[in-house]
Symmetry: C2
Subunit: 561 residues, 2 copies
């Protein structure tokens, strides 16, 4: 028996070497795991190497902004060709690392406000995009072929052992840290405060043994209230669409477990549960279990007893006290605050929810939809994961079985084998802002694919996975379509006065309506004149605060009364 000559513990050795370099560089600025705030640059310079994969916590809400600042200030002559593997590009620093020549390669999920700048940098060949992922897909790759060498994460507080308390915004942190810490990488955390010896963290979200260095940031980390929608801005067209969603989808299929996308369309649904849906006798029959951030618009429904449980990807600013006081509904720790977890909530959205409803910017005649538009590379976040049929799912529910039956009725062979299907709904007004039609012959995604040299067009949700398209003109049930032509006419049939809608085959559309493939508001027993803002359970932010018993404390920008 001979030992193989190869070194099989190189990762551990390199990790130890990085830590040794840090100890040398930091000197007295390092106490145990604690790094002096002003010594961050020295720490990063000591531990980061060219070509490292770096997971900079870039979440949907929480940002490791101090660590991002530190990263940007490194010397590109020494540190270059970093490969950034982070779910969200939210801050300017997230692209500055590329402009400054520190990083060259990017794998990500969502770029929101940085989408236009990202597209420019890609065109200038200053960023090579590996791929756009859905969140859980990127986390999955952390464990297979994109394990980070260095993770830069954010938490609320830490103790001397490096245990981290994230408070309500746990988000991506567990997935990033676990993948890094157990594959020979280094974990560096910024925290807002330190708890002294003898003091205990409110709870431990990340065990200290998984964390190498902790630095207190000079400012609390940035958190964005992305899921707050002021009811005052909900239009009566959105009320009408929400009524159709409740009657034509939630009641029709008996949807009890669901996820809502972000936006005013779904906020309108949330605000109609305790009013319109209540009047239909639906309480206890629909919308009981949610994979959802703590949306303020859901407060009236929660207060009216509609909601049994909510598991969350992340938190929402201002909802802290409300969540704490409603611990029967939210996942909370012994400290009372929310425990969010994006990886597990995305899994739950994929496998344990019967319906995903969200919005998009463009839909084509095959039902493919995308938020990618020319000159912007926005990414998709969680939508592809939750807006895809979960083909591995094996447990049944009435909603899932009915959707599956509709899709398979009359089919033969493998396509006819009984199976359930997830309800995936795209909810759009026929024209979006600036009178841009939501329905197009050709998605901008195709142009973007050419411009950015992508292997595939960046389609957010594929036509094969969309089951319904809901506009102010009606509800198209694509499950019932039996040919490409029927699908096309079903889509044209709810596309209103857009060019796509005007080019409909009127006879075929009427035939689809007779078959229930297209349902107008009146087909659902909804009189559009009833669709008034009066139906909303809250008309403005102040109403939401009142409904919460004063527990909800909106961020200043939403305090418009």
């Amino acid at each position: 028996m001979t030992q193989a000559p190869r070194d099989w513990q190189g990762k551990a050795a390199r990790r130890a070497a990085r830590k040794a370099r840090a100890a040398t560089a930091l000197g007295p600025a390092l106490h145990g795991k604690r790094v002096a705030t002003e010594a961050l640059a020295r720490l990063l310079d000591a531990v980061i190497e060219p070509f490292d994969r770096i997971a900079l916590e870039g979440n949907n809400q929480k940002q490791a902004d101090f660590l991002a600042d530190g990263l940007v200030q490194l010397d590109p002559a020494r540190i270059h060709d970093l490969h950034m593997v982070q779910s969200v590009l939210a801050l300017p620093q997230h692209l500055d690392v590329f402009e400054r020549g520190l990083a060259s390669r990017l794998d990500f999920s969502f770029s929101g406000p940085q989408g236009a700048r990202l597209a420019r940098l890609v065109q200038e060949q200053r960023i090579a995009i590996g791929a756009i992922h859905t969140y859980l897909e990127l986390f999955s790759r952390y464990f297979i072929d994109l394990s980070p060498q260095v993770a830069l994460v954010a938490a609320q507080s830490a103790d001397a052992e490096g245990n981290l308390y994230t408070g309500p915004n746990t988000e991506d942190t567990p997935a990033i840290v676990e993948a890094t810490a157990f594959s020979g990488g280094l974990v560096i955390a910024q925290v807002n405060e330190w708890v002294g010896p003898g003091q205990a963290l409110p709870r431990v979200d990340i065990p200290g043994g998984w964390v190498d260095f902790v630095v207190v940031a000079p400012q609390p980390n940035v958190i964005e209230p992305l899921f707050t929608r002021d009811p005052a801005q909900i239009s009566e067209i959105q009320v009408l669409m929400a009524m159709m969603a409740i009657k034509g989808l939630y009641a029709e299929y008996g949807v009890q477990r669901l996820n809502h996308g972000i936006g005013f369309d779904t906020a309108a649904i949330e605000l109609l549960l305790p009013t319109y849906a209540e009047s239909l006798g639906l309480k206890g029959r629909i919308a009981k279990h949610w994979a959802l951030n703590p949306h303020p618009a859901l407060i009236p429904a929660i207060e009216a007893g509609w909601v049994e449980s909510i598991h969350s990807f992340g938190s929402e600013l201002g909802m802290e006290d409300y969540v704490r006081a409603r611990s029967d509904v939210f996942f909370t720790g012994p400290d009372g605050s929310l425990r969010s977890n994006r990886a597990m909530c995305q899994a739950a959205g994929h496998y344990a929810c019967d319906l995903f409803i969200g919005s998009t910017l463009q839909i084509d005649l095959d039902g493919n939809s995308s938020t990618a538009t020319r000159g912007r590379i926005a990414g998709f976040g969680g939508a592809p994961n939750m807006g895809a049929d979960a083909r591995g799912r094996r447990h049944a529910s009435p909603a899932w079985l009915k959707a599956g039956e509709q899709a398979r009725a009359g089919r033969r062979g493998a396509a006819g084998t009984p199976r359930g299907q997830k309800l995936v709904v795209q909810m759009v007004e026929t024209f979006r802002e600036h009178m841009q039609p939501a329905f197009v012959e050709r998605l901008d995604a195709w142009t973007l694919q050419e411009q950015a040299g992508m292997a595939l067009p960046p389609i957010m949700i594929y036509g094969e996975d969309v089951t319904h398209i809901l506009t102010e003109e009606g509800l198209a049930n694509l499950l019932l379509c039996r040919s490409d032509e029927e699908r096309e006419q079903a889509i044209r049939g709810v596309a209103g006065y857009t060019p796509v809608g005007l080019a409909r085959d009127a006879r075929m559309v009427e035939n689809l309506r007779d078959r229930g493939v297209i349902r107008r508001p009146q087909d659902l027993g909804i009189d559009p004149r009833d669709a008034t803002r009066k139906l909303l359970a809250a008309h403005n932010m102040r109403d939401l605060v009142r409904a919460s018993g004063g527990l909800y404390q909106p961020p200043r920008r939403f305090r418009n009364w």
Copy 2:
């Protein structure tokens, strides 16, 4: 502003009440979180209530057997109608709780050795099965509609704060504990040993704040070596099939990231990598990144430098020292031992792998396959999750793109929109043991559905998701089939001398072969006479030990030299 009259913190109150009852019942047998071993029955009797959902850790390998014993001994006059939500039914106790009248409802993933007894109990109406799930699906429901009131888990050791060290078998524990602890449930852990004051755990796998009670079990918890296959039992037919897999699939598609099912068929592939695949010049081109337990059969390939990384669902007995010494390949902690995590590894298998290859008991003419047979309800474990096309995936790889192109070539509309596809391979000999044909006109799953009153037949992998069927007769590429008839003949064409195979349309099968839909060994340039056991990189258990440099220590039952 008025506070709602409803109590919104009932879960926390009930949790506190349970803990108070435990304190009273245990008296001096409770120190902090530590419960005296002999007081377990009193603890369980005090905290468990009728109709509770109980997550009894029942994993694929690790079993909370002492807690299971305790549960079985409760008084059914007091505690009844428990709803067991556990991934694996491995021990007799897991069904004893039903026979004794303690539990009445079950949601699970896999029942392996208990499958026949489970079927009997269902027929006697002593168990109502909610559903059979794939693992990640069941974990997902823990966060949505099946959150446990009480979790009974197993770990290697604990400290006074309740911090748990799982060692290499972390498995389901993080998902179970997180879902329970943050939804108002109670977490009870059995451990093999206690670390005294002043002693530190090797690492913290579960933070103590998430754990309510810890009890030292009188015996170390049961762990099964499920993934060990003795190379001596690999047949030359399996060698032939493995050669076809390597040449016709791994090389053909350039598969770098993959998962293998359990069994001799895939063990043969693992043992041919450093020999046959090496001779084809495939090193570095295939099979680099794995979602896989530490299979002993992979040792020769690891030693030969084929494998870059392995992330694991659970561990494998005897592989501890080998894993520790190969930390560049495996996910390990600072203590040197494996960190497994079934939830994250299942996500990785779903979203970050290009190929799943496994076996089954029956395949029908639509390509649907199942391990469910009459009189047995076995469940499917991870197969549905990894053996399904990941429709939410958005990152490209050559293997995934090629499979997608083959599936979509010539199609129009939504079905023709370019998209990748996961390779899902069923690898079976045409006859399994006792000369049962693997190919059938009708799956036993249909009979089982009727017997057990299931909403759908328990199909493990659907024909729509299977891309290839591999037998000793050849490789059928279902991606290239364009009709139900073609699919049927492609399946019959590799079904050999089974009745299904004999009923083939010989002309159509030859046509499919001309088109490359069916490929015989000779079509792949493989001479069946070359398929000898000599090609295996290890011929027996002793060879595996030798290849490991003596680091692999097989359990006694495998020490046959």
